[in-house]
């Protein structure tokens, strides 16, 4: 019998996997799920890898903000463990709610866009490896492709806001379009600066270069790191840039008319985007999956170290909710078009200088 190769090697589960592979019907399924590209899409860094931080980070965001603001946060559900499963109960509530499509909405766009958005927000995961042996597609230009795919997602928000025919949705949509133009150029330039610095758009070579010299990319080009960090907060509408979905200002911006499970999808979209962009930041700036090799975990050792970085950065982004008020739209635009744009151009020049004077690779 021939197997799909290569498979993910997990030594401490290997006896169980070897046994399951010989079972008639279950064997091919297990083989298919452990096939590297499928494993990357379904488990890490794909869907399961998204849902664990999603549940934890939503809880952490509410809890940390509550603690700083002298409240308690979610507590009543699973009181003994501090309300950790509150997001799960919210999900069940969303699933049981009725999905209302009002008369003026463009039905097809209105219903399809959140689903497309959920898919588009996860697309870059196809090109972002979680470890040297856990990846879906390897083209040699992965970082560039992922950075470009991240920017597709905004079109979905704009279309869904336009299709819902609502005052708040229109305002939110226009704000989204403004913000998109303001942060996308500095973000792209900061990623391009790192591509120039390492001389490649291949994540494996980038991480290997950071490991070989014991210097993370954030120290090699701190300006690019700061720009990418701030633009990530802007792109995923974290505080202080929660301008598009500002619920104290315009109900939930482009998603005002949504209800039920579709609203659940739109709510997870910004967290998905945080996850994907944090993954990109961790690989490019924070040394990726570098860390001591853990024997029993095998190929999952690298995703563990990457996951810890992603968790910490996402937790920091969520913590900002507790600290900051919101920027006004014109302030954020001025910041994007003035400070961040200049800083990102400086970071590109910095990278060129470093590349010419001390070639890293």
């Amino acid at each position: 019998m021939s197997y799909l190769e290569p498979m993910v090697q997990i030594p401490f589960l290997q006896p169980l996997i070897n046994f399951l592979l010989k079972v008639p019907v279950i064997g091919p399924i297990v083989n298919f799920l452990l096939w590297t590209p499928i494993f990357a899409v379904w488990f890490v860094p794909g869907l399961i890898g998204l849902f664990i931080p999603l549940i934890f980070v939503i809880w952490w965001e509410r809890k940390a903000a509550a603690r700083v603001q002298w409240r308690y946060g979610p507590l009543e559900i699973s009181k003994r463990i501090g309300g950790v499963i509150q997001p799960v109960s919210d999900l069940i509530r969303y699933m049981l709610q009725e999905i209302i499509i009002h008369q003026e909405a463009d039905e097809a766009y209105f219903l399809h866009m959140p689903v497309f958005g959920f898919i588009f927000a996860l697309l870059p995961v196809l090109f972002l490896p979680a470890g040297p042996h856990v990846y879906a597609i390897n083209t040699g230009y992965n970082i560039l492709i992922a950075a470009v795919l991240i920017s597709i997602f905004n079109i979905v928000i704009i279309v869904s806001g336009w299709a819902s025919t609502d005052k708040w949705a229109y305002i939110g949509t226009v704000r989204e379009a403004f913000m998109y133009a303001a942060y996308e150029i500095p973000f792209m330039l900061s990623i391009i600066a790192m591509i120039i610095l390492f001389g490649t758009a291949d994540p494996f070579t980038m991480v290997n270069a950071q490991v070989a010299h014991y210097i993370p990319g954030a120290i090699l080009n701190p300006i690019a790191f700061i720009v990418a960090f701030i633009t990530t907060a802007m792109a995923s509408s974290r505080f202080p840039f929660d301008i598009v979905e500002n619920d104290t200002d315009i109900v939930v911006g482009p998603f005002t008319e949504y209800g039920g499970l579709v609203f659940g999808l739109t709510m997870t979209m910004s967290y998905e985007k945080t996850y994907v962009m944090t993954l990109l930041l961790s690989i490019v700036f924070l040394g990726g999956w570098s860390g001591p090799y853990i024997g029993p975990l095998g190929d999952l050792s690298a995703p563990l170290w990457l996951g810890i970085r992603v968790f910490l950065v996402m937790m920091f982004f969520s913590f900002l909710r507790a600290v900051y008020p919101n920027y006004r739209l014109d302030h954020a635009l001025r910041m994007g078009w003035r400070t961040l744009l200049i800083l990102s151009i400086v970071s590109v020049i910095w990278s060129i200088v470093i590349r010419l004077v001390f070639p890293v690779i």
């Binding site: 603690r67 700083v68 603001q69």
Partner: protein, 166 residues
């Protein structure tokens, strides 16, 4: 004369770092003083203004309480013995205890009970015969929380079990 106001100069980097430092400090050691209401209750002083009870034996039917009431919440009901006794409509009452102050014989007494829920509007109208006893509520609270200040003026929260208080 118009005066031009200039924006105060703020160092942006120091401002952001300061904000984050305050956030981290509050996260590590929060100064919150929330009372988790059904499980905890706030400690109140003895003269806290709550529901009002009336002792019919002492009442001399002088109408002073009805005169004193600023919101006309007190009705005087005729009893079988020909006297008039007060009954309070709690949907109007603002718990100001003017009636308690006005009572010349001390038959109206204030209590500290203030957290009760009425099922409907009719049950907020207390007849004279309802005013003998303390209203009864299910009290789920296990703790009573008291706010106090220590010698440096910082907030101090004292948490007592309910049976220790009274």
């Amino acid at each position: 004369m118009a005066k031009k106001v200039t924006q105060p100069k703020v160092n942006p980097v120091a401002g952001h770092l300061n904000a984050l430092a305050v956030g981290v400090k509050e996260f590590v050691k929060p100064t919150r003083f929330t009372i988790q209401y059904p499980r905890e209750r706030r400690w109140v002083i003895d003269r806290f203004r709550g529901f009002i009870i009336n002792d019919v034996e002492k009442c001399i039917s002088c109408f002073q309480c009805a005169w004193a009431c600023p919101v006309n919440a007190i009705f005087m009901y005729r009893a079988p013995n020909g006297k008039f006794y007060p009954g309070i409509r709690y949907e109007q009452c603002i718990l100001c205890h003017f009636c308690v102050d006005a009572c010349p014989v001390g038959s109206l007494q204030g209590t500290t009970i203030s957290d009760g829920v009425f099922p409907d509007l009719e049950s907020t109208v207390f007849k004279p015969e309802d005013m003998h006893n303390l209203p009864q509520w299910d009290d789920e609270a296990e703790y009573v929380v008291k706010y106090d200040f220590d010698e440096n003026g910082n907030l101090k929260i004292i948490k007592m079990r309910k049976d220790e208080v009274k």
